[in-house]
Structure formats: C-alpha cells, structure tokens
Symmetry: C2
Subunit: 276 residues, 2 copies
C-alpha cells in the first residue's frame, strides 16, 4: 500500500485519535490533519503526535486523499454533505460508526469512494487521551460495502485496516446492524438498565460480577443515544427476544422447576465457554 | 483469636478450599479436615496443603470446634441435621452459601452456635484447583445473625473472617437475600439469558463488551439453580423491576425520544462511575 498524501480525521476521540496515531506511527500517510470542535482535543492530538495540524474549520481537509469520519452517527449523517465540497472525487472516505445502514445509504450518495467500516475495538472509555496506535491490533474491523461501493475503494479500505492491525470481515450494512444489535447494542441497553435497577444503597456490596456486567454502562450517553436511535428496529427485535428468554427463566424459578432451570443455565454456560 | 483445635470443611470447592488453605497458612487451626464426595478433590486438597486429612465419611468431623459448610445451598439444607450428631454443642458452625434466609432459619434449630456468612469473593470459576489462601483479602463477608444467634459465636465468626482478610458487614438474613437478589442473583439471571439470546453465529464477532457482560454466565448451572430456587421471591422482584426499567428504555427508542434516552443513559453512567 502506498502512503496517503494527506489523511483527514474528523472527530478526534478514542477511535479517531487512535487511527491518527497509527497512521503517523506506521507512516501510512505523509500528512495527518484533524477536525474537532474542541480546541483542547486538537491541542492534545498535536502534542502526542497524532496530527500535524488541526482546526475546527473543515476547510483544513481540502485536498485529502483519505478521510476518516470518526464522529457519532448523527454527526456523520448531519455533516457529510458539507464536507464533500472540500474533496476530490477520488478521495477515499471511510466512516467508523457503530451503526451502518442509514449512514451507508446516505453517504453512498454523497461520496464517490465511500466505504462503511466498524472497527470492533472501542470500550467504555473515550476521548483522545485514551487513544493508542495499537488499539486495532488483533481486533476485527467489519467493512460494509453496498451495491454502490466502488470495488477499488473497498480494496484500499481493506488494505488500510489490515495495515492498522485489524482482521477484516465483510457484510452488508443491513446484516451488520442486525448482528451488532445482538452482540453490542442489546448488551449496552441491558447494562444501562441493570445499573439503573439496582438500588443505590446496595452498590457498596457490589463485587466483581456486578462490576463486569455493568462496565459498559459507563459508556457515553450521547453516543449511545445516537447508536440506539440509528438502529431502532434491530435493537427492538433484540430486546423482545431477550425479554422472552428472561421471562422463561423467571417462570422456571417461579414454578420451582429445577429441571428446566438447570437445562437453561447449562445451555448458557456451554455457549459462554465458547467465547473464552 | 486463639487457633481452633480442629477445623472441618464440608465441601472442598473454590470457597471451601480457599478457607482451608487460609486456615493452614495463617495457623488459625491446628488441624484441618475436609469432607467431599469426590476423592479427587480430597487428594488435591491434601497435595496443596489445604487439609491434613479428608474423607467422604462425615464422621471425620467428630470433635471439630470449627465447621465450615461450603456446599451448595440445597446440600446444606439437606445434610446439616446429619452432621450435628458428630459435633459438641460449643462447635462454631458457619455456612458460606449465597442465600441466607432459608438456611439460617433451618440451621438455627440444628446447631447451638451457628452463624450464617456470605463471603463476596467467588467468581465464575469453581473447584479446589482455583482456590487461593488470599481470596478473601479486601473482600467483604456479610454475616447474617438472627434473633437466635449466640452473640459470642457471632463475635468469633467475625474475628475469624477478619483474620481471613475480609471486612465484615452485618445484616439480617432477610435483608441479605434482598440485597443479593439485586447485586448478584439478578445480574446472573441476566447474563445467562443474554448469552442464550445471542444467535450462535454472531458470537465470533463478540468483543470485550459482550465478553464482560456475559462472563458470569459461565457459572455453574447446579449451584446457580440452587441459588435461584432458595431466593425465589426476591429474584422475581428484581426481575420485575429490571424488565420495567428495560421496557422504559425500549419505549424511548421506539418513540425516537432522544431527550428521555439521554437522561436514562446519563443516570446509568453516573451510577456506574461510582462503582469504579
């Protein structure tokens, strides 16, 4: 892969900052610029060597041949059109949002060389101060080409993510949103709801189990509102399935039905043991 | 605290084995014997120096002045009466089960010096091979005296747990079961149900979030069936509360109500951030 001449990162948070750091460290781009509304983030990104220059003015991306959209889903949907004016048709544009269907549908119409991507490498932590160049190492990045995706752009995006250390998987935006609803969005909805259910006075007795199961409830409220609202149908489906399974367990407890209970719990343990 | 002359551990698993190891290591008992149906566990416990002698025959506990009941809740309820015949009235008997109300009610009638205890130090791992002498260090052990508990026995039990490294807290068996329903039993019910909800084919995309939230779903099915069935009413209350909170989140997503959603998620994050 030849290095990009100018990479532009829009949104200097955990993921945007980590991509910027990795692009610099691995010499994947000759110049890296950043766009953020927050002066503080730009200053920090510069200080840690993630970007060469930064601005709140999107004009700074002019002439970029690689653009990474690392804002929350709603900001990507709102701002993509305004960014297009600064870019040549052949610029490779990649977003890294956690929901894909609505974003890919809209951005396919705005950019000639757009590829939707979702690196499965976040955490409940956020912000440029938590970014790391090697955050994608051994992680999976899901690429979500559509019928409109330029195959050459897809190949370049794939090569880039592999250079960043990720394994790539490919699926349609629709499948991505269905899968992620179950493996990420439903778990977050559950974690937020569980911690909200536990009476505050009980929290001082919390041990490792409760801490682990609610860890992702410390995730950012604005970002996760965005994710929930841009994948509504699939998350509702996940919640309905989950409540059905939970009520089945509840009934077994209510009826003192040890046989069913052991069967349900053994199935769960076997499935969880496969995850390692 | 003077050392016990002879400590008997019934049930040589993660917790029983760890207590035995700590009693020996800290010289809290001159002799430690173990009872288990499993020859293999007794042999391993002897090899690692957790017990001096072991048997599947409960007669080995004769003359013990400290007895730790470290079996699953249903085994404690079933077997306590048969053990009493081997013990003098002044033997201190402590159980370590995760549910307390039914056990304390029954064992108060069987033993003169019984104290219910619940060390909050387990994990999804089990078995003597995972036991450690320092497992209770910095953990909390909840003691659950009843109106019938001998204050001198409670004081000795408290001193013992502190020697094992735990901080002690005291509450009634009823309060214990209400608190634990929310901070441990409800989370387990959720983890088991969540992993059972996720389609198997999606699991290969699981990242850290799903792994953390389902970690406790790898817990033992028999033990957790016991726990669920000996704390039914409180767990049902917890499940009802949780489903109500979850459905509220679902409604906010369904109605595209960003304001409510952000408020719910911020409340969750603030509460989780207090847990560290």
């Amino acid at each position: 892969m030849r290095p990009f001449k100018k990479a532009a990162i829009i949104g200097i948070g955990l993921i945007g900052g980590s991509i910027a750091l990795a692009l610099k460290k691995k010499n994947l781009a000759k110049q890296v610029v950043g766009v953020s509304r927050k002066e503080k983030n730009l200053a920090l990104a510069k200080r840690i060597g993630a970007i060469d220059a930064g601005s709140s003015d999107p004009q700074i991306i002019s002439g970029a041949d690689l653009v990474i959209l690392a804002m929350p889903p709603s900001a990507i949907l709102d701002k993509a059109a305004a960014l297009a004016g600064f870019l040549a048709d052949d610029a490779l544009v990649i977003d890294v949002a956690s929901t894909k269907e609505s974003i890919v549908e809209k951005l396919d119409k705005i950019f000639k060389n757009f590829v939707g991507a979702h690196p499965l490498a976040g955490s409940q932590k956020r912000g440029i101060n938590n970014s790391q160049a090697d955050i994608f190492r051994k992680s999976v990045c899901i690429l979500t080409p559509s019928a409109k995706t330029n195959p050459a752009a897809l190949a370049r995006a794939k090569a880039l993510w592999q250079k960043l250390g990720a394994k790539t998987a490919t699926m349609t935006p629709k499948t991505h949103d269905q899968v992620l609803a179950f493996i990420s969005h439903l778990p977050h909805a559950i974690a937020f709801s569980l911690i909200n259910t536990v009476p505050s006075g009980h929290l001082r007795f919390a041990s490792g189990g409760l801490k682990d199961i609610t860890r992702i409830a410390a995730s950012d409220a604005q970002l996760w509102s965005d994710i929930f609202l841009t994948n509504r149908k699939n998350i509702q489906k996940g919640l309905e399935d989950f409540i059905r399974v939970l009520v089945k367990l509840e009934k077994a407890i209510e009826k003192n039905d040890r046989g069913s209970l052991v069967r349900i719990l053994k199935q769960a343990k076997a499935k969880r043991d496969r995850l390692k």
